[in-house]
Symmetry: C2
Subunit: 458 residues, 2 copies
Amino acid sequence: MKTKKVFLTEDEMPRQWYNVLADIKMNPPLGPDGNPISPDMLAPVFPMNLIEQEVSTERWIDIPQEVLEVYNIWRPSPLVRAYNLERALGTPARIYFKNESVSPPGSHKPNTAVPQVYYNKVFGIKKMTTETGAGQWGSALSFACAQFGMECKVYMVRISFDQKPYRKSMMQAWGGTCVASPSTETKAGRDILEKFPDTPGSLGIAISEAIEAAISDETGKTRYSLGSVLNHVMLHQTIIGLEAKKQLAKINEYPDVIIGCAGGGSNFAGLTFPFVLDKINGRNIDIYPVEPEACPTLTRAPFVYDHGDTARYTPLLAMHSLGHAFMPPPVHAGGLRYHGMAPTVSQLASEGIITPKAVTQVDAFKAGILMARSEGIIPAPETNHALACVVQEALKAKEEGKEKVILFNFSGHGLIDLGSYDKYFSGSLQNYELSDSDLLESEKIFESFPKPQLLKSR
Amino acid sequence: MKTKKVFLTEDEMPRQWYNVLADIKMNPPLGPDGNPISPDMLAPVFPMNLIEQEVSTERWIDIPQEVLEVYNIWRPSPLVRAYNLERALGTPARIYFKNESVSPPGSHKPNTAVPQVYYNKVFGIKKMTTETGAGQWGSALSFACAQFGMECKVYMVRISFDQKPYRKSMMQAWGGTCVASPSTETKAGRDILEKFPDTPGSLGIAISEAIEAAISDETGKTRYSLGSVLNHVMLHQTIIGLEAKKQLAKINEYPDVIIGCAGGGSNFAGLTFPFVLDKINGRNIDIYPVEPEACPTLTRAPFVYDHGDTARYTPLLAMHSLGHAFMPPPVHAGGLRYHGMAPTVSQLASEGIITPKAVTQVDAFKAGILMARSEGIIPAPETNHALACVVQEALKAKEEGKEKVILFNFSGHGLIDLGSYDKYFSGSLQNYELSDSDLLESEKIFESFPKPQLLKSR
């Protein structure tokens, strides 16, 4: 039988994460005064051991044994040869995907939720707070908290909370508490509710509530957790690419093209950063982050200093940004509706080491259906964006008659997002066009901020 | 690191199914005249190659290469040591589970959907019809049809169709067509709709529609498919237990207790039949099928001849039955709401080779939550019933201070059934008590049928 799934044994699981900060130059985060922030300034929000990881420039960072043991529930994840997709496309390309949908919450998110909760616990923290939009991140953090016996409180954007009641049940099954945001539990929430009692909520508001809940706990035993964007999140996700590299080596393959969808950047970074290291060292690889045309952070927005959240709680981050008040159209890939992009991913894009692509949501779902019918697995709406690019690249290889090796991240399954497929089949899923003038308008918001330097890492 | 997941390589996947009919005595299915039916009588409904498999008494039956290649999408499935559940229960028992939730539709159902579609295709069939209640089986058959390029038409009980729109989307993602039953597409459906325009539908009606759609197709290229009860379904599911045996042998283990939930019997049979063979040959194993107290087919109903469906389309089958018109209370484990039980499983119970158990739905969900918080995976409501029994056995081992090995089937995940967890958490999940007199009343329906012989296989 042809080998379809390449496994690593549990003993072959990588013991260290790869830290891209060792190999690229970065503009520092800036505080309200325009000066680089110090680690201390983040201490009320994050535990110091994670802050140290956030700023570390060590290339390899040990994965704690306790984290490995929880990873072991679903990792190493399989690397799969997509024979059926190749056949459906009639391509000479060999297509592989890393199946991150096998985790209990169904996506790559627990790769960072688990170590974040672990480090908080080691630091003496008892309770984690976070926000969630579509619900993937809140679910992953609840799962991780259950593993370490920690409390978990999730502020879920009101409109998603109402539309996706099952996400709340999922968090409850893991012992997490999920409330609709804005809530009456925080000052930030109450202020908004007083002004706009019927607000559908937003990620910006939910972040404000989660941060407030963390820093206002008088016992000092609560901290906030973020599921993307930050350096330590990207670090934890590199387990994906490190495993993929080992798995490909087992079958004597190496990718020519690597593809991941990109919202905040974490699943893309997780798969690609270990290969970025090879590219910096001279290897020729095309690396494509794929975003929705409706939220074209890397493809159409400038590399600037901007806030990570709407309410301006975060430091200024050097990144591609559509403006921190940008309201993305309601595409169904909720995980890709973010105005900014991880500073590390943004830096690599600004240097041309990675090459951003954008696809429409209808093309994304079309590719997702092809995946479901050929390889059998129904992808998350976010993952469909990666798949649209995979299809393009596989067809290009067919035109050129080239035996390319394509590797992509199957970041999550779509079993909790079947409502979006329902929309697709009923023909009510639409594309959104953003005019240049709209984008220019939304980007005015960071005009007065300092400008990042254009750094070259090689 | 302690070994948590035991894998087989793709090359180690079993190449044959185990047919329990080689090792047990069975009462034959009877036709309307009270005489054993001949294979020809089933020909309008099933293809002849599957009918031959249904009546075969060969012990080992080869798995076709084409089936193995589709199994290869998710099989061999992992055998997992439930260290965290053991710790949560403080038991000296070693608990293992076979994780059948890793299939794309999320349960064990594709183990038989794939070969059924394959054999139909080989026989020249172009289209499959079936019924579905909660939606697991309709999803699995749609998935299998996508793999072999066959058409798939699913009649889904109206009330579930309305309550679980995502199941329809799932089938659509795989190219299946799903309509609410009763529909206007069949005479059976139209007749019911004329009398009861607002009927919520039933499995009995949906079966009638699916069979009618198959046998009334004038091209002769359509057949019906059933997801449980029949001998060939049990046969296909034995891949679960055959893999588990190999995996346990790799770590020098053998189970003392084996547990599976039982509705029609297929996931239970799949895991246990290969061990039943050992038990028949003298090995000492406790084998427990677990059903809901609200549908106590094996635990409280007699071993009789009865019809497999409400509308009396099927032959008379020798099985434990609550009466073919029995309407089970609305427990959330839809897959366990069946009035009868696979004849093979019934025969083993009647001989005392397996020992049926029943648990309440609230105890089942309690065990499911413990599983979710310890092992990380959220189980299907059906699987929760097996888990309630696992918890009982693990606590018994603790009381007795015995190092038992417990093996159970994790038949499916609960990600499409989170609504039932929502009910559990909101306190509105209730237990149902069935009085003896209610059961006696419903069992009157088969009083006039022939009685099966009490056969002894050993």
